[in-house]
Amino acid sequence: MDLLNAIVAIANYVLVPAISYGSQLALGALGVTLIYGILRFSNFAHGDTMAFGTMVTVLVTWWFQSLGVSFGPLPTALLALPLGILGCMALLLVTDRAVYRFYRQQKAKPVILVIVSMGVMFIMNGLVRFIIGPDDQRFSDGARFIIKAREFKQATGLSEGLAIKTTQGITIVTAVVVVALLFWFLNRTRTGKSMRAYSDNEDLALLSGINPERVVLYTWMIVAALATIAGVLYGLDKSFKPFVYFQLLLPIFASAIVGGLGNPIGAIAGGFIIAFSEVTITYAWKKVLGYLMPEGLQPEGLVQLLSTDYKFAVSFVILLIVLLFRPTGLFRGKAV
């Protein structure tokens, strides 16, 4: 029995990775849920929007690095992030102008917009691969760790180490700041409230003098910021590969739906639920149980419920269970 070591092992292999992955999913799901709530369709291009914003950030980061600009112990990408967001905003606003606006004027049905977003997805996907290529790109620099496993062991005298990567720390801090800003904006500012009003009841918003085009404009800008931040954080934490971002669509959709589509709080909760389930179910618990179980009873196998290759399956099964028992998601979303 070694409770302390078990807790540290859990923190190191489950809590920290799950919290940072959960933050990334939550930011992605917030973008999806905002579009669903205000533009009323699920945006299949969201993964590729994230990839585009991240790509711009990566390119700017490389440029900064070539100029010798650095951000001390923090990754240079954080300096490049605002430019990445601007680039992504420009792309989304051009897309809205050239593509989506026409369908809004036609009062097109949401499912048509979903198909439109598939076309946009192809274009953005092609664009990103065309510009930066389909390969893995690393752009993280600065200090690698906030706490190193070895230092932790020395300081505490435990045999289990706890490592927190700089990127994980940044992810969590950024996510908290961004989410706080977003909620302040939606609940306290006039523009934010008008966006909620439009999402709630389009006709009445119109009768109240709210300009739909303006609401849509702000929505795309916020979505661009959220998508780029989510994408950059994910890329710093792992690496940037266009195809992986496309694949993030499933866990992101799952997070948004589990929480209740159209509900921002739900998107955040959903992100963490999906992340925690993925990590706990695909983690090999041998080590932790080894500390907890009495001598002789320690497990021989890995005690891994599912291999990591099935992480998509986990998010999906969670989603299915939630939908079967609570079709509107955990936090009453708009569905059904």
Binding site: F44, I112, G119, R129, Y310, L323
Partner: protein, 434 residues
Amino acid sequence: MNETVKNVGLFALVGALILITGFMQSWNTAILILNMGLISAIMSIGVNLQWGFAGLFNVGIMGFVALGGLAVVLTSMPPVTEAWAAGGLRVLSGLLLGAATIAAAVIAHRKMRPGRTRGVVMIVILVGGFFLYRAVFDPGVEAVEAVNPAGTGYLGGLGLPVLLAWPVGGLLAAGAAWLIGKTALGLRSDYLAIATLGIAEIIIAVLKNEDWLARGVKNVVGLPRPLPYEIELQNDPAFVARVAGFGLDPVTASTLYVKLGYSVLFTVVLLILLWMAQMALKSPWGRMMRAIRDNEVAAEAMGKDVTARHLQIFVLGSAIVGIAGAMMTTLDGQLTPGTYQPLRFTFLIWVMVIVGGSGNNFGAVLGAMLIWFLWVQVEPIGLWLLQVLTSGMADANPLKQHLLDSAAHMRLLTMGVILLLVLRFSPRGLIPEK
């Protein structure tokens, strides 16, 4: 210009494009495009059935295609007797245990009264069942995969004729579709899109990781063929003599013969399915489906069971996609789970259906052939275009290098542009629904 003329013209155009490919590039390429076009056409018919006639949004086409592919392995490969002896029964009983666990949980959910007890019982059944299943299943899998891992390492199939795998692929896909539809097609609204999106990824994950089933990413190669091998033809004096009469050399002639043989087979299947789809469309059943689609409230008031009808058409459409998936794997001669990509096998099929004309079977066929042609040919055309555009630049220019290297990604961009243009300017597709 009347409609029939226009439609025939459109088909003739696609035919001409393929012929031009034959004359300009090679007949091999042309027939390859034709063959995959025919398979894509069948997939499109399946998706069109779901989207065009019932408004069901399936974004898991890739999963059904892959199930069709799996069917080919399970049906036509010879069984690996050693593997069966080593752990086949154990694997099977493990799977049965897993299924029994889920069934028991469902029964408990139905029979018991709602409340905490029911929840606890269900959790106990599921958790207990899971560990039991793993305890039986895992050693079996290990044993099976240990049998000659470089060559087999899986259970193999039933050793039946490969053509039988096509309907089996349909059945397998239909079974999966029934399960998905049963859970995801609700009463007032459904969540089919996310359900199919997820299941497709899971099917691919299973194919990639369950080596005992179809060797996972080690791929199953050398699948039996419905047609003779080229080398057999080349060694057949009668064949050599016959093609010599046409002035062809035996090597080229044998590859063309085999590929054309596939074309004929695929065309037959396509025509049968197209005919069936058309008949279904015109039958009372088809009229009812469209009545439901156009006014569900009225159809429901007339006593139509909308959910059951939706389930029906979803299963049918998916079965057709499964058949196409089996045909594709037969054509490839191998099952390679790593090649299944949603962009290629789900979203591209959607482009085909929308461009061709949702709700029109002929439109689906036309869209499939046209889009498949473009999907193959945009790459060389794009490369050529970029070469022309960059011809003024020095060869060492990094921009030129980059552009030429990136030509391969032009096809995604082009598909997006085509989809958006059609949606905007011809929203009902090239051959609209009547």
